[in-house]
C-alpha cells in the first residue's frame, strides 16, 4: 500500500441494498368523539416501549423508546425514575429518533481499495471486513507489539473495545473527552479536594442558593438534570452569577452578569478570593477544620484586589465585591461550578484549581446546596482471564504531563507520526464513536498521522469526516438497535440503567459488542469473550447487584440505597479528604515539589491584533459534538452555525445580517465554507462566537455538508496545559473576509 491513500476520500461506494425505512404509517380514520374529530389524521398504531439510555450526548439519560408494529421508532420519552432526566429528555434526546431514521447512515462494511488508480471504498461482507481488521491488528502486534495499536474512542462502543484492547495487550487508549474537554478540571479539583468532579457533576443545584457559572453556558449546554435543577433553583429564588464575555442564555437569567474580557478569568477568581479573605467573609470554621495552607493563600492573594482585577478583567470593582458578598451570604449553599469544556488557555488546571479553592473558602464541598458526595454502584466485570501487561501505554505516551490520568488524544496522534526517535511507535488506530477531525484541533497532525499509520479502522453510525481516512469502516447500529453495557454513574443515590434494542438493526449494521467479540475470536482471545450474547453478560452482572435482565427490561432504571454514608459532611464528625494532607489543599505541596505553582497565578494571555477577533465557540442546545448536525429532526431546528458579531464590529467590517463571510486565522488558515453573519448585542466587540460542530465537508452527510463552518478547523494554535496536557483552544484569532480569500489566491 502506498501512502497517498491517506488522502481523505469521500465514501462513494455505498450501493443500494439497504432496507427501505418503513415510514410512519398512520391510518386516516377519524374517531367519533368530538375532540378527535379534528385532531388531525393521527390514529397511532399501538406502541411498544423498550428501555434504553440516550447516546446522543454523554449525559446518558434513561428513556423509553416507543416503536410501532412495523418495527419503526416513533418517539423517545425520558424515564421518570431516572436521576439523569426525571422523565424529561432534552431536544437531542427527544430527537434521537433521527439518529435511527437518518438515511445517510453507514449501511455496510466498507474497505478502502484502489479502483482504476483512484482511492475508493468497496462494500464488503462482515466476514471480509473483520478478517482484514484482525489481520492488520495481528500484523502490528507481531511486528511492533500490541501497544502499537491505539484505540481512540468515545461513548458506549468504547467500553466494548477497551475490553478487546486490554485483552489484546494494548493500553494505548485515549478519548478527546479528556485532553480536549474536561481533563483540566479533574486535575484542578483532584489536587484541591482529592476527588474528580466526574460525570454527572455532583453539584447540588437543586438546593443551592447561589450558582456561579464561569464560561459555562448551562441551558445552552443541555446537561439535563443540571438544567432541570437550575430551573428549580430559580423557583426557589437562588441567585445566579454568570461570568461570560457573551450574553449567554443563562446570563439573561442571572442577577449578575460579569461580561469579562476573555482569557482573564484567573484574575477575577483571585480577586474574589481576596475579597472573601480580606473582608472576612470566608467560612472560617470549615477552613480551619478542613483546610491546608490557608495562611499561604491569604498572603498570596493579598495584592489581588478588585481594583487590580478591574484593569485586567474590565469588571468593575464594586461588581466584584458585590458578587463575592452574594456568594458568601449564600454559603455554604453556593456552587462555583467547575464547568465542563474547560480547555481554554493552557493554564486550565490552575484555573480549575482557583475555582476549587474558591469553593473551599465558601465551604461548598460536602455541604447542602454545594457539592454532595456522589455514589455509584460498581458493576462486576464478567469473569475473564487476567489482562496481559503492556510494556507501555497512554501513561508513557503522555509522560511529560505529571497529572494526566487518562490518555491524551493529541499525544497519541503525535506518537503516530513516524520519526527517527519514535519512542512509542503507534502503527494502527481503531477510532470508535468520535469524529476526530471535528473534536481535535490541528488537523495537520491528524493528516500527518494518517500518512504514517499502517492501518486505520473506524467504527461509527454515520459517514463522519474521520471515516474518509479509514482503511476499513465498520457500520455500527444506533443505540436504539442494540444492547450496550449497563449505565452506572455517580449520583445522590446509585442507579443502574439498561439499554436494550427497541428494533432490529437497519441495513447491515451491527452492535459494537458483537464486533469486539468477533475480533476477539479472530485474534485468539476467545477466552475473554466466553459468552454467546451480551444478554448473558448483562443478566449475570445484574444478578450480582440484585436485579436481572428480565426486571430491568420492565423498569429500565433501578435506584439503590446509598451505602457509602451521608450525602454531606456531618457536624462534629471528622472527615479526611483523599489528598496528600488529608485536607483541602489551598496550597499544594505536591505542585511545589515539582516546581509548579502551588497556588494559581494570573498570567496575561495574547490578545487579538487590530482587525482580528478572538474565536469563541460553544454549544447549541439542539446539537452535541459534531455528531447530530445531520440528524433530520435536529437539523430541522438548527442546520448551520452563524457568526455572532457585535453591531459595532458589523459597522467597522461593513457586515450585514445574514451575509456570508469567510474567516482567516492568524496562521493564514481560511475557513473551508462561508458562514452567515448574525449581528447581535450578545457578544463583545473583541470576540466572535459560533456554535461548535458545524461545517461538515463529507458530502455523504446530505443535510450537514457545507452548512456553516467548523470551529475546530480554524483552531491551529493550542496552548498546552503543563499539568495534564489539555489542549487550550481559545488561542486563535480570526479576521473576517467578505470575499473568499482562498479564491483570490487561485486567480
Amino acid at each position: 500500500m502506498n501512502n497517498s491513500r491517506r488522502s481523505f476520500i469521500k465514501i462513494s461506494a455505498l450501493g443500494a441494498g439497504g432496507v427501505a425505512l418503513s415510514s410512519a404509517a398512520f391510518s386516516a380514520i377519524p374517531l367519533n368523539d368530538t375532540i378527535n374529530s379534528g385532531v388531525s389524521k393521527i390514529k397511532p398504531l399501538p406502541l411498544r416501549r423498550t428501555a434504553t439510555y440516550c447516546e446522543v450526548c454523554f449525559w446518558k439519560c434513561a428513556a423509553w423508546a416507543y416503536s410501532d408494529e412495523l418495527g419503526s421508532i416513533q418517539k423517545i420519552i425520558g424515564n421518570q425514575n431516572d436521576p439523569h432526566c426525571f422523565g424529561r429528555l432534552c431536544p437531542r434526546g427527544t430527537g434521537g429518533v433521527g439518529m435511527y431514521s437518518d438515511k445517510d447512515r453507514l449501511k455496510k462494511p466498507l474497505i478502502r481499495t484502489e479502483i482504476n488508480g483512484k482511492q475508493e471504498f468497496k462494500e464488503a461482507s462482515w466476514k471480509e471486513a473483520l478478517n482484514l481488521v484482525a489481520e492488520k491488528m495481528q500484523n502490528i502486534k507481531d511486528q511492533y507489539g500490541p501497544e502499537s495499536m491505539a484505540l481512540i474512542k468515545h461513548g458506549s462502543p468504547g467500553s466494548h473495545l477497551e475490553h478487546l484492547f486490554k485483552a489484546f495487550g494494548s493500553d494505548t487508549i485515549a478519548e478527546p473527552a479528556y485532553a480536549q474537554c474536561r481533563g483540566p478540571r479533574e486535575t484542578g479539583f483532584g489536587l484541591t479536594f482529592g476527588s474528580w468532579v466526574g460525570s454527572p457533576e455532583p453539584t447540588d443545584i437543586r438546593d443551592t442558593k447561589c450558582l456561579v457559572l464561569i464560561g459555562s453556558h448551562l441551558g445552552e449546554n443541555m446537561h439535563n438534570s443540571q438544567v432541570q435543577e437550575m430551573s428549580d433553583a430559580i423557583d426557589n429564588g437562588a441567585q445566579i452569577i454568570t461570568v461570560d464575555p457573551r450574553f449567554s442564555t443563562v446570563a439573561s437569567k442571572s442577577q449578575y452578569w460579569l461580561p469579562i474580557k476573555p482569557s482573564t478569568d484567573i484574575a477575577l477568581l483571585l480577586s474574589w478570593m481576596h475579597v472573601l479573605i480580606y473582608e472576612d467573609l470566608y467560612n472560617k470554621e470549615y477552613v480551619e477544620k478542613y483546610g491546608h495552607g490557608f495562611e499561604a493563600l491569604k498572603k498570596h492573594v493579598k495584592p489581588f484586589s478588585p481594583e487590580w482585577a478591574y484593569g485586567i478583567t474590565t469588571i468593575k470593582p464594586d461588581q466584584i465585591r458585590k458578587t463575592a458578598r452574594t456568594m458568601a451570604s449564600a454559603a455554604p449553599s453556593t456552587i462555583v461550578h467547575p464547568g465542563r469544556h474547560v480547555t481554554w488557555y493552557g493554564d486550565d488546571s490552575q484555573r480549575a484549581r482557583a475555582v476549587a479553592i474558591l469553593n473551599g473558602l465558601l465551604g461548598s464541598w460536602g455541604n447542602r446546596g454545594g457539592f454532595y458526595f456522589k455514589e455509584k454502584i460498581k458493576i462486576p466485570k464478567y469473569p475473564h482471564p487476567e489482562y496481559p501487561h503492556p510494556k507501555w501505554g497512554w501513561k508513557e505516551i503522555g509522560e511529560k504531563f505529571p497529572f494526566a490520568e487518562m490518555g491524551n488524544t493529541t499525544e497519541v496522534i503525535k506518537a503516530s507520526i513516524a520519526s527517527e526517535d519514535q519512542k512509542y511507535p503507534i502503527k494502527g488506530w481503531f477510532v470508535a464513536g468520535t469524529n476526530l477531525v471535528a473534536s481535535v484541533p490541528q488537523k495537520n497532525l491528524i493528516e500527518k498521522a494518517a500518512e504514517s499509520l499502517d492501518f486505520i479502522v473506524v467504527m461509527d453510525t454515520m459517514p463522519m469526516e474521520i471515516t474518509g481516512y479509514a482503511d476499513v469502516i465498520l457500520p455500527e447500529c444506533t443505540y436504539l438497535e442494540r444492547y450496550d453495557g449497563l449505565r452506572s454513574s455517580p449520583n445522590r443515590e446509585p442507579s443502574v440503567a439498561l439499554r436494550a434494542p427497541a428494533v432490529e438493526p437497519l441495513y447491515n449494521t451491527k452492535p459494537a459488542w458483537w464486533m469486539a467479540k468477533e475480533l476477539g475470536n479472530r485474534l485468539g482471545l476467545s477466552a475473554y469473550f466466553d459468552y454467546e450474547t451480551i444478554e448473558e453478560v448483562l443478566d449475570w452482572q445484574l444478578k450480582q447487584i440484585g436485579s436481572s435482565l428480565e426486571e430491568m427490561k420492565k423498569i429500565g432504571v433501578k435506584n439503590f440505597k446509598r451505602k457509602s454514608g451521608p450525602l454531606y459532611l456531618q457536624k462534629g464528625k471528622p472527615y479526611e479528604f483523599p489528598t496528600q494532607s488529608g485536607k483541602i489543599e489551598f496550597y499544594s505541596d505536591e505542585l511545589a515539589s515539582l516546581g509548579l505553582d502551588p497556588m494559581p497565578v494570573y498570567t496575561p494571555h495574547e490578545t487579538p491584533n487590530r482587525g482580528y477577533y478572538r474565536l469563541n465557540y460553544g454549544r447549541s442546545p439542539m446539537h452535541t459534538f459534531s455528531r447530530t448536525i445531520n440528524n433530520p429532526n435536529l437539523s430541522d431546528l438548527t442546520d448551520e452555525n452563524t457568526l455572532w458579531v457585535n453591531p459595532k464590529v458589523a459597522r467597522i467590517e461593513n457586515l450585514k445580517k445574514g451575509q456570508e463571510v469567510w474567516l482567516e486565522n492568524q496562521d493564514g488558515k481560511v475557513s473551508q465554507f462561508p458562514i452567515k453573519v448574525r449581528v447581535t448585542e450578545r457578544i463583545r466587540w473583541d470576540s466572535v462566537y459560533m456554535y461548535h460542530g458545524f461545517g461538515h465537508n463529507n458530502k455523504k452527510l446530505s443535510r450537514a455538508h457545507g452548512k456553516g463552518i467548523s470551529d475546530t478547523d480554524m483552531i491551529t494554535r493550542i496552548k498546552v496545559d503543563p499539568l495534564m496536557g489539555g489542549t487550550g483552544m481559545r488561542g486563535n484569532f480570526v479576521k473576517i473576509h467578505i470575499e473568499n480569500p482562498a479564491k483570490e489566491v487561485m486567480i
Binding site: I35, I77, S231, F247, T249, E681
Partner: protein, 177 residues
C-alpha cells in the same frame, strides 16, 4: 372548562425541546412545525435583556380562523381548543391569512395543520407533549376556569402578557414575565 397554557419566560432557555417533542408526537413532517421558539434582545452591550418564548396557536376565544373558515373545518372543540377537521378542510388558506400569530401551515397532504394542545393526549389524561418534555419545566397547562388550578394560580400571582393583544383575539397562551 377552558384550557390554557402558561409559559414562564424567566425559565425558558430556548432549547426547542418543545418543538422536537411536538414533531415526534404529532408526526409533523420535517420542515414544518406547530410550535417554535422566538428570541428577542433589548438594550446594548452590556445592558441587555433577552426574552425566549415558545410559541404556538393561541387557541383564541375570539378566533378569526374559525370565523373565516368556509367549510367549518376549523372549529372550536371541548375546552376551547381550536381544531381543524382534516377531511373537511379544502386547504383554501383563509385561516392561515387570518391568524395574527402565523400559527397555521398547509400540511403536505393538503389540509391546514396547527397546534391542537395535543388533544389526543389530553383525552388520555396526559399533558401536551411540549409541556411534558420541557427540561426547565417552564410550561404549565390546565383549566383556567378552575381557580384552584396551577395555571390560574400563576396568573394571579405573577405578571404576564399575551401576544398581540391589540388583535382582540383573546388568546389562551400566557407568558409570565
Amino acid at each position: 372548562m377552558k384550557y390554557a397554557m402558561v409559559i414562564d419566560t424567566l425559565k425558558c432557555v430556548g432549547c426547542s425541546d418543545c418543538v422536537v417533542a411536538c414533531q415526534t408526537e404529532n408526526k409533523v413532517p420535517v420542515g414544518y412545525c406547530r410550535d417554535w421558539v422566538t428570541e428577542s434582545v433589548n438594550g446594548s452591550y452590556p445592558q441587555l435583556n433577552l426574552e425566549l418564548k415558545s410559541e404556538r396557536c393561541n387557541q383564541c376565544d375570539n378566533a378569526p380562523c374559525v370565523r373565516c373558515c368556509p367549510t367549518g373545518a376549523s372549529h372550536k372543540a371541548e375546552g376551547g381548543i381550536i381544531l381543524v377537521t382534516a377531511d373537511e378542510c379544502i386547504g383554501c388558506g383563509a385561516c392561515i391569512a387570518s391568524c395574527p400569530y402565523d400559527a397555521r401551515f398547509q400540511h403536505p397532504d393538503g389540509y391546514v395543520d396547527k397546534c391542537t394542545f395535543c388533544a389526543h393526549r389530553l383525552k388520555e389524561g396526559q399533558l401536551p407533549a411540549c409541556v411534558s418534555v420541557c427540561p426547565t419545566k417552564c410550561m404549565y397547562f390546565g383549566d383556567i376556569e378552575d381557580p384552584t388550578s396551577k395555571v390560574s394560580h400563576l396568573l394571579k400571582s405573577r405578571k404576564y402578557k399575551v401576544l398581540a393583544p391589540e388583535a382582540g383575539t383573546k388568546p389562551n397562551v400566557y407568558y409570565l414575565i
